[in-house]
């Protein structure tokens, strides 16, 4: 390969300087543009971080308060169930008492029947007739007292049954509310996760989607309070 000698080109100095300046300007423009883009990106990140922080703060508070409310509702449900259980136990005890008294009453009735049969064979002036009369009065009084006792026991059982029913309804009501609060808590937690992910993936749409999920969770929690 043969080398050809390069003819020196006569370029004016001014032109060379302009060219260099132009190139430098271009470089500077590129540098500035890159700097501006970097600044813009930094600002955007900062804005995302700020909004994510605010959202996270609000959602965390919401989750905490909703957790307390859910816990209260859960306790109320447990309390109502305890009342149901206690009322049923008390009612069973009262039934046992009722049956005991009924058995006692039957004993007196049988004794009265025996008296009535025995008296039929006695003469009017037989002293055993007077004794039978005495026992008859006694048994009759005892039967009446037992009737009154069983009446009271029965009404107590009715009260306990009604209390158990009301408490069960209350427990069911609190149970429904607790479920709704649970749903709210889960949804809000999901929203918190989605919004937090925005920081990593840098997708604004994810942030807004998280907000939408948070709104659903909050609505679910609020509706739980007004649930009937």
């Amino acid at each position: 390969m043969t080398e050809h000698p390069v003819e020196p080109v006569a370029v004016p100095h001014d032109e060379i300087e302009r060219s260099i300046q132009t190139a430098l300007d271009r470089l500077e423009a590129v540098r500035k543009s890159e700097a501006a883009a970097a600044a813009k990106a930094a600002a955007m990140k900062a804005a995302i971080a700020r909004r994510v922080s605010i959202a996270a703060l609000l959602l965390t508070m919401m989750l905490s308060f909703l957790g307390f409310v859910r816990s209260q509702s859960d306790s109320a449900e447990a309390g109502a169930k305890a009342v149901v259980q206690q009322s049923r136990t008390d009612a069973s005890t009262e039934w046992a008492l009722y049956q005991t008294k009924t058995a006692q009453r039957s004993g007196f009735i049988v004794a009265e029947d025996n008296l009535a049969r025995e008296v039929l064979s006695l003469t009017a002036d037989d002293p055993r007739r007077r004794l039978a009369r005495f026992h008859h009065h006694e048994y009759e009084a005892r039967v009446r007292a037992l009737d009154e006792d069983t009446r009271q026991v029965f009404h107590r059982i009715q009260t306990l049954d009604a209390r158990a029913y009301d408490a069960q309804k209350m427990a069911d009501h609190h149970g429904r509310r607790t479920k709704r609060y649970d749903m709210g808590i889960r949804t809000l937690t999901l929203a918190l996760v989605l919004i937090s992910l925005t920081l990593l993936v840098d997708r604004a749409s994810l942030f807004f989607f998280g907000l939408l999920i948070a709104a659903i969770g909050a609505a679910s929690g609020v509706s739980g309070y007004f649930l009937r």
């Binding site: 909004r51 919401m62 409310v69 009301d166 909050a218 609020v222 649930l227």
Partner: protein
Amino acid sequence: MNIAGRGAPRTRTWQGLVVRAIPPSVTRILLMVAIAIGVAVDVFFAVVNFYPVAPHPNPGPKRYVVMQMDEVQAAWFQSNILDDFNTETNSNLQVLRVSDEEQLQASIHDAAAGKDVVLVALPETQLARAVESKLVRPFTDVVSSEQIATDFADLGSSILAPGMFANTQYFLPRMTVVDVAAYRVSKVRDAISHWSVLRPQIDAALAKINGRGLPAGYELGLTPAAWTSYDLFVLAYYWSHRSYSGEPARPRVAHRTGDEIDGQRDIVSAIYRLGANDITIANPENRAAIDMFEWEALYRDEGAYPPEMFAEDPFDDEAVIEQLKSGELFFAPIDTMEAFRLHGGAHEAAAALVDDPADLEFTSMPRGATLALDGKGHPLRQRPSFSFHEDWVWALPTSTHATTVGYQLVKFLWRPEIHTRECEALGMLPLHPKVVAERVSRFRLDWISHVFEAGLEQARYGERTPPELVAKGVGSVYAQLWIKIVDGKIAPVPETAIVEALHAPPRPKPLAVREKSDVDPAHAVDKPVPERSVPETENEDWETSVVLERVTGAKK
């Protein structure tokens, strides 16, 4: 996408469409709104921690449920049923009670002027009139038939059937009322022990009609549920001659009379008990009617019926209750709810109306048996115990402004727990299939289960009250015939006299609708009987000889 919201909105394309980004200013506003809502929700939950129960909105104006009840029953229903319903549904329903079923429709009229009546409980005998006069409208106007079928699927078609009118669920079921027999145990025991003393007289009284007397091999039944017309006559005859506690002997058995619904139903059901049916009843000269009037004339001739049954005022439900209450009657038909009222003790405020509720028992009505006997000395015709069912339904008044509350209440009432509560306190016959199946464990008191068992047994053999009873005046005809034959002292024999009377039946009268002012105030509220003191007399019935009156040579 520019989340920072600076600069002009940008556009992007998606599948050829130009999608314009949300302007940053709008985004900013949206975010501010979201923050504000978030803070508000946080504050809400913070406050809710201190007020865990949500406040109730205003339940609105009072609305009314019209029912036939006494004061005690109405107070119980309000505090144990309606108040619970009001709490659950945030309603404001109140009981508007009437003492007599004939006043129910008048009450809707009265109430329509100033009160919003959302429901009224009507007996089936009044349905046609209520529909004709447009006082009520069908439930299918406010709830679809499919919804009703779904909501009441547990009840089954037989319970919903009384509410069907013109092939739609015009009404919803309320309850079924059947009669049972109430009797005094101590007096039955006395009769079982001593009735045979009067056997010759009883035979003689019966022989005047059937030429023989009591059926062959007759003994007074020891099982009340198996009693027949003859057992009842023996009891009635014995008691009407038996002196108790030194008081004059007098009639102790009765049923309702008079040209009102109570009397009509008792008289017509007595005819059915002797073999009539929906077809034969239309002809007053039917065999069962002749048999029934022979029995009735015999009771009258033997002085076994109290004079009040022949008085001008109808001897109705309330009159029977009064006589059972005062101890005048030892046996009478009453419905299950009246049985509960009489016995008392079904709930705390239900005082006993009789001096000794433990002496009161309940069974099904006696089986029908004719006075006429066959060649072997057995009743010529017999039939199982019979009583009409009177179905009551919930009707929706045309004038009500709150149509759905009434429907909700009916649904609430048919919950098994609420139905059980009502049955146990008011004496309604259990109808809900679940409650009926579990009745042994749900109704544990002996006397309550006796009433219900008698009622359910009665319902098994009974029939629905025929519409002709009121609509065609059949009940009125027989009630007037009863007055003509029994009060008119037509002899039971020869039966041609009775047949002649039946041959010329009176014209039916429209069912009497009493105004509120016509109701005897003495019946308005039941006064509990003061507690009986244990008698201190030397000679008490349980140990003294039987004292019989108006019977020659029968003193034992």
